[in-house]
Assembly symmetry: C2
Homo-oligomer: 1010 residues x 2
């Protein structure tokens, strides 16, 4: 029987020849289905595997730990006395076959009642005849275990003995090295964990419910044939110092053999250890009823194994653990046991990848058809999360997020405040900007549907205000009152949009539109930062002709004006001119004063300001590049992971601190952040409240409906696109979105701000993305070598609220904040713009233009869409962006939101240029197309089920949304028929007989599934 | 028989049980030994493998290329219509077994006389009975082949047809995309290569002698069982458009099967294709006599295969080709056929790495014992290379090397020239420095033993000159004459050292000393660059109190001195003071003039220089970081490899150009490179020749022997250590070294320079390393995916000569060179220092301090030496360096060479602290120790041979120099016995019988080798 099973499994090629003949499962697969199918509700514990090898330590024998596995292998570096990096266990095929034979012929004890090592050893040896041999084996198996944490002191002394000068050695050992690697041999007989075990820090890498499997391999001189035992204990038991950590042992594998084959034994030990940590095999090991179940487990393992050709790979290379490995569930689901074959070569093979998951906006954007239906659903959805929205904010990461976003916000508030002040003759200035940001932000973060969104002034609104102010001024209309009415109208319009579930149309916004919008915003950030920087060179002109030696030639003197040409005080608009102008000491006046009093500046150095421009550049560029470097530091090799993560999280803060420090050190008068210090409106002739009536004619109240419509479109688009970007599936948000609720609050704040004469606020894409990024959670990697997985975002309201409260408080923080040079903040701006570009597929595609195809990264869309189509698609996007950019730079900026609608139109036209297959990979499908295709697909699926399988290249087959369509299932069915068939031994030798009798049966019979 | 072979091979585990019983080879291994042993003198051609699959194109069938192999797999990206990156072929074990069965049961035709595809197809089908089937198969096999280079035009049109607007598509196709991927179906019947084939650029990636193997797999509806054929043609023949490149076909594998199993067929096709490009299997395929030989080849392949566990690896990942793969020779040598098993898991397994190759300085440094023996050997060794030393210099790379080193040299010449001028009161200035550098460098590069070494002034010599000048001045001795005599003595002493082969002692210089020396020099470079930069801030002080508004308060006026206090002209040492001092317009004077005429500068801005310091910093840091970034650009994904390499090679030049451009653009008066424009000594009172007699008393001529001794030691150490570093084994120099010859010429130049009053020159470590680095050659990667290998250095005299000729000519290049700002050159200095640190193991070890052990790179010494010993060793080195650094900063700098001797002493003492095993990994062994250990080892080896094998941990066993000792051979012997034995079938089923009878035999019998 043994021989026959083996042949069946490992001469699988035969199945090709006699494939269609025998439609039943191989016994191995059938066995596994049976035992694994039994009770899937109780998950088996994680296994920690330790391999010990028998070593001579002086004259004594002892077991020395040589490798361990949680998920990946860590080897004891023989000379290095340290753990290797976790790596993928590369095995030789041979050792696996040898292991298989070992289990076939050795002792297998399942569900042994063991309570101590001596008793277990006794049980193992039960079948042995020679008492002499039994005694010797017991002796060997009960030797002490030395784990890698410990290093015998006597050995160090021995080393020193070898080298004749021990004094210097001792000196170095005592003074220069941290006390590490102490030695203590332990008694294995104890059944309580030793202090050494308990102290082992490795324990935190092992899950709580873990059990241990111990592999003991070694060569002894008294055996002539190998002694093999595989033991599963009925209950996991702590067997003294057997394991390096206080984890109870469940499995024990012993291989003792004659001298001279240590390497071969080691390889077998590594093979069983690797098997024990395999998710599927460990399940089998827990549930096996007999020896044959274990063998079947190995056979299944071998079937799934991935093979590297010896000529293309150097076995000495340790393979780093991959980013992601297929989970046991996936392996079971995707390839129901025994269906795995023929797909293992997927990496290089012809197997298709998973299809892109279709763009899903979820039920949040479904059209309810009821009045305020969407709004009520939003509230219903978000309300249960409210408590957790607060307590989940208490985390160290929140601090760095708050700092980062706070700095972004005040920079924004100052920038836009300054610009708005210019544009509206200080009706809205920095003070209003701070107050408005704090008010709107806090309210929004408290009550909105998506508290991760950060509100801010945006460019289009700035332009609108500018045009509106000019219009009012030229036509003698009161600006603040007009603005209030526009705000009221716009607020009502927002309410109408909310009540009618109008956010529904966001569904038509695909990746194409989103990316276009967010790239544009990023470019604006980048170009603004650079413009500001270039501005510094204009504001502080450098005297390029300066010759150090001719310093005597440079001065700037204030000359009194010619008394004859002296302007009368009425012409001069300086109210506080001193009475005795003529009595002034002109040479003592500052530049401003001089000009104020009508003096003229004469001299070569008047136009120039030394050092400040260059210093600003150094601060700007330094902040940017230090932030980038520190962000990357997370991936460096230096320092422990936690410290690196901390540095990376606080990179912006650290860069700002560094360059603020540098600036203070230099002491130059670089332009600093100016925060208003008194709580009063920027313009003294306005109050904190705007009255709705009295200054403008009545018809203005109605006519303001029209400009309000423009504002509404602007706000709606800006807000909702940012929301879609924030709610992207990649961010793995769990608490749902609230488009309608968000819009509602934006409307409310619109009106409120209008009444108080504050700027209007809307979602800011770049800062919101930065907010999300700074709150990303990663799994703490449990098993050594496992990559941390992105888990989601810390969704809460606390960071947002804190940011805006801080912004409000900033008015009182002026003494501290005034040390921050503006160029440093521009550097942060630049970083934000660049960082928000990096996550965008469009940007990745632009980079492809510059890469020869052989160097291009392995993007999944490149595997499926011809490069020239990808390039074409990117080119369309670039063109659209260029057009938008040009429009934005003209007065047309005010219809910016309409341009986004234009983008959606372009996307619609792309349906005519690109096939739906290509678009599914490069973009998402538009809703109606998607629907239609799905229907088509269903039909096709049905057709296919009826029709005979057809593998010719059919484009539709690869449509992403056909992911779980019947056609792919039937694929599995077919493979199943092809590859996993039990062939009696005689067929193997005479493969030509009886080949067609089962053919019809296989195609007609449905799959066997327990 | 078939079954039995299989069992033997793939139930290898049995060998464990019955290991020692059967000392003869498995039939597979024996077969291979026989056929591969036949005629190893004629190498088999490289195979290019192409796999085509059968596809429906519209209603027609055609063969479509789906993957190709030169060494690694490149797959046609199905949707992407492009080639994937080359990757390691990951196979499933299953497909390999299926392939094995295919070859067992299918048609195998070896040495078929084929001249055209139809004829070959006819031959294949000979055995078939049904003429109907024959016709159908012929029809399928003779379908057209479509290769990946071509894309059918009608398909593009079809795509457009699907999307309704073809006009826009056409527009984009015509105007925006490069004309790529043309389509032409070909006629396969032609026996001359088509133009498409000839035009294929991929041809250059395939070796000239290559032959093709074609794999054709597909499913057809008329077959009920698979049709398999493996054909080897007697002569490689071009079979029309079968292959994408005009390479004649030698092998043909056909697999046609029933519908529904395309994936399985594809995997089998990939398996045979991977086998065909395997070095060993392709040998077998060429030499196989029958079907069984091929099967044996597969079996051997399976035996060497590396297995990845399914739970630890995602089969979807494409594995990048490794840096290096074991060559076929190595695989054959290291594991004589059939001995490979049990070592495949080496990556993670317990197999030891190769040992470090012992430090070998070669016969160049052997003590000849004859007068001038070493010198004559050097000349004899170098003379034959003389012609190639010139013609090998003609390469594009030389240009960048010359530019790079030239800039380094003139920077050095100017820096040291300036410093020497200061130190010697202009007896030696910039002019002398240029002239001396050019003269000494040219002569040395023309005649020396190691023309890659660059001569330069060095720090220690500078200090010596300074002290000497002060001594002469204080004691009224003529400096130039004293210096001449020291030079003469030193030259003679060098000759004595050359004649006595004294360079022999360099042997005692291990990595420890070398690294200490070169790190020190690198640190000096780095610290000098930074010091110079900091100096700029002192030289151009920044006015940190400057307030832009108070620009009027800043001026610097020259006030006439108080006439009463006016110094008389005799006290003032300004000879050219104008006669009418009182008549001067003081306000028109420059700063210098003002001070010269005794005026005083008054004003707030007198002390300050605006902008220059910050601009200098930007230039300095910009040059450095741009060079670093451009150097790294070689490893980026952008642009074709050649362009990237060019950018990387010229990175320094490009950075210099960029920042020179920036500087010119800004127009600031940053300090520029000052090159002397007139050919005359710096000091007008000296000539170009120094007379040996007349100015000093006679005993000075003799007494100068003592300081000369110091200079000699200095020169000897500096020169020879740099030479050892340049001649490092890692640089793979092929033309041998010439320590004695080098020293001879340094001595000659010493005397020559002394006579002309020029500075003394000696090898400059950092610039020499930079020279080597800029001349490194890499293999052009032939097979896609293969990594380029470092081949060696372009060893020639041309670059060096050009550098120094250019340096000489620089005196006339002043108008161009004067645009280069000094900070840019300091940036280059900084880069040189940092870059020369990066190759040093010491530096790698310092970095280890900051890395948690799990992140440490996989250095081989870390696998063998405990981390704390590594740290201790590094600490000793750091301490030594710190002491050297402190000494260097004092007047003791003059005994710098003696300190290097001190380093050698410390190294000697380390022998007492560290075991020889650790030192062998971390450093090299000192000669006598090495000798002794070798002898010890021989003895031990002999002992071991006699003793029974012992695998307990024995430190000596891992000694690197025991690499090929008998003990390791006996290891192989043992493994051989263990793992590769033929077990009759009955033993498999009844493994317990007959186990001890052969035991004694195996241990006693010598290895079987044909």
């Amino acid at each position: 029987l043994i021989g026959s099973v083996k042949i069946t499994k490992f001469s699988g090629g035969v199945s090709l020849i006699s494939c269609l003949n025998l439609p039943f499962l191989s016994p191995a697969a059938e066995r596994l289905r049976y035992i694994l199918g039994e009770d899937d509700d109780m998950p088996t514990p994680t296994l920690f595997t330790e391999m010990d090898t028998l070593q001579h330590e002086g004259d004594e024998l002892e077991w020395k730990e040589s490798a361990r596995w949680v998920k990946f292998e860590e080897k004891v570096e023989e000379g290095g006395e340290r753990w290797s990096k976790p790596h993928v266990s590369t095995l030789s095929l041979h050792s696996l076959f040898e292991l298989r034979t070992c289990l076939q012929t050795g002792t297998v004890l399942l569900d042994l009642d063991g309570y101590s090592l001596p008793q277990i050893v006794g049980e193992i040896e039960e079948g042995m005849i020679s008492p002499d041999l039994r005694e010797k084996i017991s002796f060997v198996l009960l030797r002490k275990h030395r784990h890698q944490t410990k290093k015998p002191i006597h050995r160090s002394f021995a080393d020193m003995g070898k080298s004749s000068s021990s004094a210097s050695e001792l000196f170095f050992l005592l003074c220069c090295l941290p006390g590490h690697a102490q030695s203590r041999s332990m008694n294995d007989i104890a059944d309580t964990p030793s202090t050494d075990q308990l102290k082992n820090k490795f324990m935190k890498k092992i899950p709580r419910d873990a059990e241990a499997s111990n592999v003991l391999v070694g060569e002894v001189d008294f055996l002539t044939k190998p002694f093999v035992a595989f033991v599963r204990l009925a209950q996991a038991t702590t067997l003294g110092g057997l394991t390096e950590v206080p984890v109870p042992t469940r499995f024990l594998f012993v291989l003792l053999g004659p001298q001279g084959k240590a390497k071969s034994y080691n390889e077998i030990g590594r093979a069983i250890a690797t098997l024990m940590v395999d998710d599927l095999f460990s399940d089998v090991a827990y549930k096996a009823r007999d020896r044959e179940d274990l063998i079947a487990g190995i056979d299944e393992f071998l079937d799934e194994v991935i093979v590297l050709p010896p000529g293309e790979w150097d076995p000495k290379i340790r393979i780093e653990p991959p980013k992601k490995v297929p989970s046991a569930e996936k392996r079971l689901d995707m390839y129901p046991l025994g269906l795995m074959n023929g797909t293992a070569g997927g990496g290089g093979g012809l197997v298709e990848d998973e299809m892109p998951v279709p763009h899903e906006l979820g039920e949040e954007l479904a059209f309810t058809g009821r009045f305020c239906g969407g709004l009520f659903l939003d509230i219903k959805r978000k309300l249960p999360w409210l408590p957790s929205d607060f307590y989940e904010g208490f985390h160290i990461q929140s601090i760095s997020a708050v700092l980062f976003i706070y700095l972004g916000c005040i920079t924004n508030a100052i920038t836009f405040g300054g610009l708005l002040g210019d544009a509206t003759d200080n009706y809205q200035g920095v003070m209003e900007s701070f107050l408005g940001t704090a008010l709107a932000g806090t309210v929004f973060c408290l009550f909105s549907g998506q508290p991760l969104i950060i509100l801010s002034s945006t460019g289009p609104i700035l332009i609108f205000e500018k045009l509106l102010f000019e219009f009012s001024k030229n036509n003698g209309i009161d600006y603040m009152e007009l603005r209030l009415w526009i705000g009221i109208h716009s607020c009502l319009q927002c309410f109408i949009l909310v009540a009618t579930d109008a956010s529904y149309i966001i569904k038509y916004m695909t990746r194409f539109t989103e990316e276009g919008f967010s790239s544009l915003i990023s470019f604006i950030f980048i170009s603004d930062a650079i413009k500001k920087m270039v501005g510094a060179f204009k504001y502080y002109p450098i005297n390029t002709d300066f010759k150090p030696d001719y310093v005597t030639a440079y001065k700037c003197e204030c000359l009194a004006p010619d008394p004859k040409l002296m302007p009368s005080a009425t012409l001069c608009n300086c109210q506080d001119m001193p009475l005795n102008v003529t009595g002034l000491d002109w040479s003592q006046l500052s530049k401003k004063e001089c000009l104020k009093y009508g003096g003229s500046l004469v001299g070569k150095s008047c136009k120039y300001v030394p050092d400040l421009a260059l210093m600003s550049f150094i601060l700007f560029f330094g902040t940017y590049s230090m932030t980038v470097s520190l962000k990357k530091f997370k991936f460096s090799r230096y320092f422990p992971t936690k410290l690196r993560k901390l540095i990376s999280d606080f990179s912006i803060f650290m860069s700002i601190m560094t360059f603020v420090g540098l600036d203070m050190l230099m002491g130059l008068k670089t332009p600093k952040l100016i925060v208003p210090t008194e709580f009063k409106p920027t313009r003294p002739d306005r109050g904190w409240l705007v009255m709705p009536f009295g200054k403008n004619p009545w018809w203005i109240y109605l006519a303001s409906f029209v400009p309000a419509l423009l504002v509404t479109i602007l706000i709606f688009m800006d807000q909702q696109i940012s929301a879609v970007i924030v709610n992207r599936k990649e961010n793995k948000l769990k608490k749902g979105c609230g488009y309608h609720l968000d819009l509602f609050w934006v409307g409310v704040l619109m009106a409120a701000c209008s009444f108080m004469g504050l700027p209007w606020y809307v979602a800011a894409t770049v800062i919101s993305i930065a907010h999300i990024d700074s709150l990303k959670m990663e799994s703490e990697s449990s098993a050594p070598g496992e990559q941390p997985q992105f888990l989601g975002v810390r969704e809460q309201r606390l960071t947002g609220i804190l940011v805006f409260v801080l912004t409000g408080v900033s008015i009182f923080l002026a003494p501290v904040l005034q040390f921050i040079p503006m160029p440093v903040l521009y550097g942060v701006f630049l970083y934000m713009g660049v960082a928000s570009l990096s996550g965008i597929q469009f940007w990745d595609r632009i980079k492809l233009y510059m890469m020869p195809s052989k160097h291009q990264p392995d993007f999944s869309f490149l595997r499926h869409v011809p490069l020239r189509r990808v390039h074409l698609f990117t080119l369309v996007q670039i063109t659209c962006l260029a057009v938008l950019w040009i429009l934005k730079s003209t007065f047309l900026a005010i219809i910016f939101p309409v341009m986004i609608l234009g983008l959606m139109g372009v996307r619609k036209m792309l349906d005519m240029v690109f096939s739906q297959h290509d678009l599914a990979w490069l973009d998402d499908l538009l809703p109606e197309k998607e629907k239609k295709k799905k229907e088509d697909d269903k039909k096709k699926g049905k057709d296919k089920k009826k029709a005979k399988p057809d593998d010719s290249e059919d484009e539709d087959k690869y449509h992403p949304y056909s992911n779980c369509s019947p056609s792919s299932e039937s694929d599995v069915d077919r493979r199943y028929c092809v590859l996993k068939l039990h062939i009696p031994y005689k067929d193997l030798i005479y493969p030509s007989v009886a080949q067609s009798q089962w053919a019809a049966h296989c195609q007609a019979t449905p799959r066997h599934r327990p």
